[in-house]
Symmetry: C2
Subunit: 106 residues, 2 copies
Protein backbone atom coordinates (compact mmCIF):
# COMPACT_ATOMS: atom_id res chain seq x y z
CA UNK A 1 0.00 0.00 0.00
CA UNK A 2 1.24 3.44 -0.94
CA UNK A 3 1.51 6.14 1.72
CA UNK A 4 -0.98 8.98 1.55
CA UNK A 5 0.51 12.36 0.61
CA UNK A 6 -0.78 14.84 3.20
CA UNK A 7 -1.14 18.45 2.09
CA UNK A 8 -1.60 21.54 4.26
CA UNK A 9 -2.54 25.08 3.31
CA UNK A 10 1.14 25.95 3.66
CA UNK A 11 2.42 23.18 1.38
CA UNK A 12 4.11 24.44 -1.77
CA UNK A 13 2.09 23.24 -4.74
CA UNK A 14 5.20 22.50 -6.85
CA UNK A 15 6.67 20.36 -4.05
CA UNK A 16 3.40 18.44 -3.71
CA UNK A 17 3.27 18.09 -7.51
CA UNK A 18 6.75 16.57 -7.48
CA UNK A 19 5.70 14.11 -4.78
CA UNK A 20 2.55 13.13 -6.70
CA UNK A 21 4.52 12.68 -9.94
CA UNK A 22 7.08 10.48 -8.17
CA UNK A 23 4.45 8.21 -6.63
CA UNK A 24 2.51 7.99 -9.91
CA UNK A 25 5.63 7.02 -11.87
CA UNK A 26 6.30 4.21 -9.43
CA UNK A 27 2.83 2.97 -8.51
CA UNK A 28 0.54 4.39 -11.24
CA UNK A 29 -1.69 5.79 -8.50
CA UNK A 30 -1.42 8.15 -5.52
CA UNK A 31 -3.65 9.19 -2.64
CA UNK A 32 -3.52 12.82 -1.56
CA UNK A 33 -5.31 14.10 1.56
CA UNK A 34 -6.27 17.66 2.46
CA UNK A 35 -8.19 19.23 5.35
CA UNK A 36 -9.65 22.70 4.82
CA UNK A 37 -10.11 25.00 1.85
CA UNK A 38 -6.48 26.19 1.73
CA UNK A 39 -5.13 22.64 1.69
CA UNK A 40 -7.69 21.53 -0.91
CA UNK A 41 -6.67 24.47 -3.10
CA UNK A 42 -2.96 23.61 -2.85
CA UNK A 43 -3.75 19.98 -3.70
CA UNK A 44 -5.77 20.90 -6.78
CA UNK A 45 -3.00 23.20 -8.02
CA UNK A 46 -0.45 20.44 -7.35
CA UNK A 47 -2.45 17.92 -9.39
CA UNK A 48 -2.67 20.39 -12.31
CA UNK A 49 1.11 20.95 -12.10
CA UNK A 50 1.85 17.21 -11.76
CA UNK A 51 -0.04 16.58 -14.97
CA UNK A 52 2.49 18.76 -16.75
CA UNK A 53 5.42 16.91 -15.16
CA UNK A 54 3.98 13.51 -16.12
CA UNK A 55 3.20 14.55 -19.68
CA UNK A 56 6.88 14.18 -20.41
CA UNK A 57 6.73 10.60 -19.12
CA UNK A 58 3.84 9.81 -21.45
CA UNK A 59 1.41 9.56 -18.55
CA UNK A 60 -1.94 11.34 -18.27
CA UNK A 61 -3.69 11.46 -14.91
CA UNK A 62 -7.17 12.02 -13.53
CA UNK A 63 -8.39 12.35 -9.97
CA UNK A 64 -11.48 11.66 -7.94
CA UNK A 65 -12.13 13.51 -4.68
CA UNK A 66 -14.04 11.83 -1.84
CA UNK A 67 -14.91 12.73 1.74
CA UNK A 68 -13.12 10.76 4.44
CA UNK A 69 -13.18 11.01 8.23
CA UNK A 70 -9.73 11.19 9.74
CA UNK A 71 -8.36 11.39 13.25
CA UNK A 72 -6.28 14.51 13.90
CA UNK A 73 -4.85 14.60 17.41
CA UNK A 74 -7.80 12.65 18.81
CA UNK A 75 -10.40 14.76 16.99
CA UNK A 76 -12.42 13.55 14.04
CA UNK A 77 -12.10 15.83 11.02
CA UNK A 78 -13.57 15.60 7.55
CA UNK A 79 -10.83 15.50 4.92
CA UNK A 80 -10.89 15.30 1.17
CA UNK A 81 -8.99 12.36 -0.26
CA UNK A 82 -8.00 12.66 -3.91
CA UNK A 83 -7.39 9.34 -5.63
CA UNK A 84 -5.02 10.18 -8.50
CA UNK A 85 -4.63 7.58 -11.23
CA UNK A 86 -3.05 7.14 -14.63
CA UNK A 87 -5.85 7.44 -17.19
CA UNK A 88 -3.77 6.71 -20.29
CA UNK A 89 -0.21 6.33 -21.51
CA UNK A 90 1.12 7.85 -24.71
CA UNK A 91 4.38 8.53 -26.51
CA UNK A 92 5.67 11.86 -25.18
CA UNK A 93 6.34 14.49 -27.83
CA UNK A 94 8.71 16.48 -25.63
CA UNK A 95 11.95 15.13 -24.21
CA UNK A 96 12.00 14.73 -20.43
CA UNK A 97 13.19 17.77 -18.54
CA UNK A 98 14.62 17.56 -15.05
CA UNK A 99 12.30 18.79 -12.35
CA UNK A 100 13.49 21.77 -10.30
CA UNK A 101 15.50 20.82 -7.23
CA UNK A 102 13.76 21.21 -3.88
CA UNK A 103 13.75 24.79 -2.66
CA UNK A 104 16.02 25.60 0.25
CA UNK A 105 14.28 25.88 3.62
CA UNK A 106 12.77 29.34 4.16
CA UNK B 1 -20.48 23.16 -26.63
CA UNK B 2 -21.59 22.85 -23.03
CA UNK B 3 -21.68 25.93 -20.84
CA UNK B 4 -19.10 26.12 -18.08
CA UNK B 5 -20.48 25.84 -14.55
CA UNK B 6 -19.00 28.74 -12.59
CA UNK B 7 -18.55 28.26 -8.86
CA UNK B 8 -17.91 30.89 -6.20
CA UNK B 9 -16.86 30.52 -2.58
CA UNK B 10 -20.50 31.17 -1.66
CA UNK B 11 -21.95 28.50 -3.97
CA UNK B 12 -23.71 25.66 -2.13
CA UNK B 13 -21.82 22.47 -2.87
CA UNK B 14 -25.02 20.39 -3.14
CA UNK B 15 -26.47 22.83 -5.68
CA UNK B 16 -23.27 22.71 -7.73
CA UNK B 17 -23.28 18.91 -7.42
CA UNK B 18 -26.81 18.82 -8.83
CA UNK B 19 -25.78 21.02 -11.73
CA UNK B 20 -22.74 18.85 -12.47
CA UNK B 21 -24.82 15.65 -12.31
CA UNK B 22 -27.40 17.13 -14.69
CA UNK B 23 -24.81 18.15 -17.28
CA UNK B 24 -22.99 14.80 -16.99
CA UNK B 25 -26.23 12.84 -17.53
CA UNK B 26 -26.91 14.80 -20.69
CA UNK B 27 -23.46 15.36 -22.17
CA UNK B 28 -21.19 12.81 -20.38
CA UNK B 29 -18.83 15.66 -19.54
CA UNK B 30 -18.92 19.01 -17.72
CA UNK B 31 -16.56 21.94 -17.26
CA UNK B 32 -16.50 23.63 -13.86
CA UNK B 33 -14.57 26.84 -13.20
CA UNK B 34 -13.45 28.30 -9.87
CA UNK B 35 -11.37 31.33 -8.88
CA UNK B 36 -9.80 31.33 -5.42
CA UNK B 37 -9.35 28.77 -2.65
CA UNK B 38 -12.93 29.01 -1.36
CA UNK B 39 -14.41 28.41 -4.79
CA UNK B 40 -11.99 25.57 -5.53
CA UNK B 41 -12.95 23.95 -2.23
CA UNK B 42 -16.69 24.19 -2.99
CA UNK B 43 -16.06 22.72 -6.45
CA UNK B 44 -14.11 19.75 -5.08
CA UNK B 45 -16.83 19.02 -2.51
CA UNK B 46 -19.47 19.32 -5.26
CA UNK B 47 -17.62 16.80 -7.46
CA UNK B 48 -17.42 14.34 -4.54
CA UNK B 49 -21.16 14.78 -3.90
CA UNK B 50 -22.04 14.52 -7.63
CA UNK B 51 -20.27 11.18 -7.76
CA UNK B 52 -22.80 9.88 -5.22
CA UNK B 53 -25.73 11.27 -7.23
CA UNK B 54 -24.47 9.68 -10.45
CA UNK B 55 -23.82 6.31 -8.82
CA UNK B 56 -27.55 5.68 -9.02
CA UNK B 57 -27.41 6.33 -12.76
CA UNK B 58 -24.61 3.80 -13.20
CA UNK B 59 -22.09 6.53 -14.01
CA UNK B 60 -18.69 6.97 -12.41
CA UNK B 61 -16.81 10.24 -12.92
CA UNK B 62 -13.28 11.54 -12.72
CA UNK B 63 -11.93 15.06 -13.04
CA UNK B 64 -8.81 16.82 -14.17
CA UNK B 65 -7.97 20.33 -12.93
CA UNK B 66 -6.05 22.76 -15.14
CA UNK B 67 -5.03 26.41 -14.89
CA UNK B 68 -6.82 28.81 -17.22
CA UNK B 69 -6.60 32.57 -17.62
CA UNK B 70 -10.00 34.23 -17.59
CA UNK B 71 -11.22 37.78 -17.96
CA UNK B 72 -13.15 39.06 -14.94
CA UNK B 73 -14.47 42.58 -15.42
CA UNK B 74 -11.54 43.50 -17.66
CA UNK B 75 -8.93 41.98 -15.35
CA UNK B 76 -7.07 38.78 -16.10
CA UNK B 77 -7.39 36.21 -13.33
CA UNK B 78 -6.06 32.67 -12.99
CA UNK B 79 -8.89 30.19 -12.57
CA UNK B 80 -8.95 26.44 -12.12
CA UNK B 81 -11.01 24.62 -14.71
CA UNK B 82 -12.11 21.11 -13.77
CA UNK B 83 -12.91 18.87 -16.73
CA UNK B 84 -15.34 16.28 -15.32
CA UNK B 85 -15.92 13.18 -17.41
CA UNK B 86 -17.61 9.80 -17.22
CA UNK B 87 -14.89 7.22 -16.57
CA UNK B 88 -17.08 4.13 -16.69
CA UNK B 89 -20.68 3.00 -16.76
CA UNK B 90 -22.04 0.16 -14.65
CA UNK B 91 -25.30 -1.39 -13.58
CA UNK B 92 -26.41 0.51 -10.48
CA UNK B 93 -26.99 -1.64 -7.42
CA UNK B 94 -29.38 0.83 -5.88
CA UNK B 95 -32.70 1.66 -7.51
CA UNK B 96 -33.07 5.25 -8.65
CA UNK B 97 -34.63 7.39 -5.97
CA UNK B 98 -37.65 9.41 -7.05
CA UNK B 99 -37.34 13.12 -6.73
CA UNK B 100 -39.37 14.56 -3.87
CA UNK B 101 -42.97 15.43 -4.82
CA UNK B 102 -43.91 19.09 -5.05
CA UNK B 103 -44.69 20.57 -1.68
CA UNK B 104 -48.42 20.97 -0.97
CA UNK B 105 -49.78 24.49 -1.12
CA UNK B 106 -49.72 26.15 2.27
Amino acid sequence: MVDTIKVSAKSRSTAVAGAIAGVIREHKRADVQAIGAGAVNQTVKAIAIARGYLERDGLDIVCMPAFVEVDVGGEERTAIKFAVEVSRTFTPILPPVPEPPPAPPE
